[in-house]
């Protein structure tokens, strides 16, 4: 498979003022690298403050990255001026969490989908209108919805419109940022199935961002785990979920609520409160909360290193096999 999107060393830093003459650097995303192959879904998992949304926005240059390179089909898009970026934009699209926020309340949803078609000069007049109906049908809506306003649609239908709008420009890569988090469980299942069907049909590549591990596991064959702006682990979903190599991944997975009342889970309780991206430790970002951390973890920054086929982890103790995972519940 070819790499459609290659990300290397991507960082996004913000300067935050902390009172008189004090400036803090908030490293929302810090040295993140990965590739997304064509037709593939890469899942991005992380809790609040992990930088997952900032990462998605940086890829599409909705946010200017501070450092690093994003290559789309071998073209470095981080350095491109707006004029050269514009023709590429139609290949790279995004769907956000709350469809009510991303659709203009005063515009019919048909117009919302028509807009990108006209903007990118993909069709005009009757052909453009026909294309709108085609897109509505593609996402499971019908012609009757075209003339409606967002408030006349349910949350699930609004999100379908947002997907149709993203697909209007025939993109190849779509960032899905928590696309089903605001929806009811029954509607979420419909949307996830739709996204998978669209991917098969149109050969799309997804970056699927979510805090919900079960949703990511269903959508993505490969996953990166973010903690405080850094990738702590990457690998095929099944392998990573069955045998997490990073203490944070293990902690996160163990915290997922049980499926049934009789399910016994080995719970890992992290120490203390979640760290702030403003006060990130010098060594491994998870070290202050890690039940397995030793002195070296607090001091030495950890880089991703291969463990097993197609897997990487940023934890020296895990790589050297120094962790016995069967630690009793804290």
């Amino acid at each position: 498979m070819d790499a459609l999107l290659e990300v290397s060393g991507l960082s996004k830093h913000y300067i935050v003022s902390g009172g008189l003459l004090r400036r803090h650097i908030l490293r929302a995303v810090d040295g993140v690298s990965f590739t997304v192959s064509s037709g593939e879904t890469l899942g991005v998992v992380g809790e609040s403050g992990s930088g997952k949304s900032t990462l998605g926005r940086c890829l599409l240059r909705l946010e200017e990255p501070s450092e690093g390179v994003v290559k789309y089909r071998g073209i470095d898009i981080t350095g491109l001026p707006d004029s050269s970026l514009r023709p590429l934009r139609r290949h790279l699209q995004m769907v956000f969490q709350d469809p009510a926020d991303s659709l203009n309340p005063r515009m019919t949803v048909g117009t919302a989908v028509l807009e990108p078609i006209l903007l990118h000069g993909l069709a005009r007049g009757v052909a453009a209108r026909r294309r709108v109906i085609e897109l509505f049908e593609l996402v499971g809506l019908s012609e009757e919805h075209v003339a409606r306003y967002p408030h006349q649609l349910s949350g699930g239908q609004q999100q379908r419109v947002a997907i149709a709008r993203a697909l209007a420009s025939n993109p190849q890569f779509v960032v899905l940022d928590e696309p089903t988090s605001a929806l009811d469980v029954s509607v979420q299942a419909q949307l996830l199935n739709l996204l998978r069907a669209l991917q098969r049909r149109l050969g799309l590549s997804y970056l699927f961002i979510s805090h919900d591990l079960s949703v990511v596991s269903y959508m993505a064959r490969r996953v990166v785990v973010l903690y405080l702006g850094r990738v702590v682990e990457e690998g095929p979903t099944r392998a990573l979920f069955d045998d997490p190599k990073h203490p944070y991944t293990r902690t996160l997975l163990s915290a997922v609520p049980a499926n049934t009342p009789w399910e016994q889970r080995h719970r890992i309780i992290p120490r203390g409160e979640p760290a702030s991206p403003l006060a990130r430790p010098a060594g491994c970002p998870f070290s202050p909360r890690c039940p397995w951390a030793v002195q070296r973890c607090h001091e030495e920054p950890q880089a991703l290193q291969p463990v097993g086929p197609d897997r990487q982890v940023a934890c020296w103790r895990s790589i050297e096999g120094k962790i016995v995972w069967t630690r009793p519940e804290a």
């Binding site: 009811d184 469980v185 979640p274």
Partner: protein, 330 residues
């Protein structure tokens, strides 16, 4: 005989809107055994939150409780004067919400907020109040209590805010705690900590809990009883284990089945359509347009709640045969 702390009988709550009267609760009956946890599950518009607000008598115009009884320790809350009800709220029944930060006063320190509650409800002041405040914060397992007392809500993480909220609720030693999506906005690792805390409080203080959630995992973790709501009525009530093994109502069965999981290669089972708008409620069984088991009778007649197994009630003419769902698949 089970002793019920709370008994809701045939409760009708409605809201006057521009488009007519919306009946949000249509004859809800629900029993909450003392010292146990009842989970109320449902999607948006099912009436979960209105149930909680009705119990607290916090329904404000244009909303109105039309009829029914809410027996708390044998006393009908709906017959109390506002002044009498004021003594029930907080002191007997307390409630925590989804956005803990919004429930706290942003301009007052934690100490001031706890002191206000202690003075108003218990007449505690001075050193006695401070001692009690410290005790409460330790009870919800907050670290560094003295520093925390001086902190403002914005200085705390979401999980800490929720713990402070729980501490405020515990201040008057209520008998019943209603948690309305209390962990929904939290990260999974923090959610786990709050769930453990609630479980512990139930065991140590004999607290009775009503947990409102859309997350069946939270129910599996915490609840002894499950109440499934759909379109303003109870469609299933069951002991949690039995419910997760073999739900009777087709809606409940599908809700359990459509949770995404890693091992699914096939598409997720879905519930077609959307949760009905309460103004355009379907005839007969309100779930019939979305139900895979529906027959003509479901459109014409409204089923009543019937006990099919001891303690397991369902509102359906053609319930699922046992077992509808095999947990070993996951």
């Amino acid at each position: 005989m089970t002793e019920y702390l709370l008994q809701i009988e045939d409760l009708h709550t409605c809201f006057q809107t521009r488009n007519g009267i919306v009946h949000v609760l249509r004859g809800l009956s629900l029993n909450v055994p003392r010292g146990q946890v009842v989970g109320i599950v449902g999607e948006s518009g099912s009436g979960k939150t209105v149930t909680a607000l009705s119990i607290m008598r916090l329904i404000r115009p244009p909303g109105r409780i039309l009829s029914g009884r809410i027996l708390f320790q044998g006393t009908d809350l709906l017959r109390l004067s506002e002044q009498q009800m004021e003594r029930v709220r907080g002191r007997q029944i307390a409630m925590i919400f989804q956005q803990p930060r919004e429930s706290l006063n942003p301009v007052l320190t934690v100490e001031t907020q706890i002191r206000l509650v202690l003075r108003q409800h218990l007449g505690l002041d001075g050193h006695a109040a401070l001692t009690r405040a410290r005790h409460l914060l330790r009870q919800v397992e907050l670290p560094d209590v003295d520093r925390l007392l001086r902190a403002y809500p914005h200085e705390l993480s979401g999980g800490m805010c929720q713990r402070v909220m729980i501490a405020l609720c515990l201040a008057c030693s209520p008998k019943l705690l209603i948690a309305d999506e209390a962990t929904t906005a939290l990260d999974v690792t923090v959610q786990l900590q709050i769930l453990r805390l609630l479980r512990q409080l139930r065991e140590e203080l004999g607290l009775t809990l009503v947990v409102i959630t859309h997350n069946l995992g939270v129910v599996a973790e915490l609840c002894q009883w499950v109440a499934v709501m759909y379109a303003g009525e109870l469609v299933e009530f069951a002991p949690a284990e039995q419910f997760f093994r073999a739900p009777f109502h087709p809606y409940a069965a599908r809700l359990l089945a459509c949770r995404p999981a890693i091992s699914l290669e096939d598409d997720l089972p879905v519930i077609p359509g959307v949760v009905p708008d309460l103004l355009t409620r379907p005839s007969g069984c309100p779930f019939h347009p979305r139900c895979h088991r529906a027959r003509p009778r479901c459109r014409l007649e409204h089923p009543s709640l019937e006990e099919r197994l001891p303690g397991h009630e369902v509102r359906c003419f053609f319930p699922e045969e046992v077992p509808a769902w095999t947990p070993s698949l996951r």
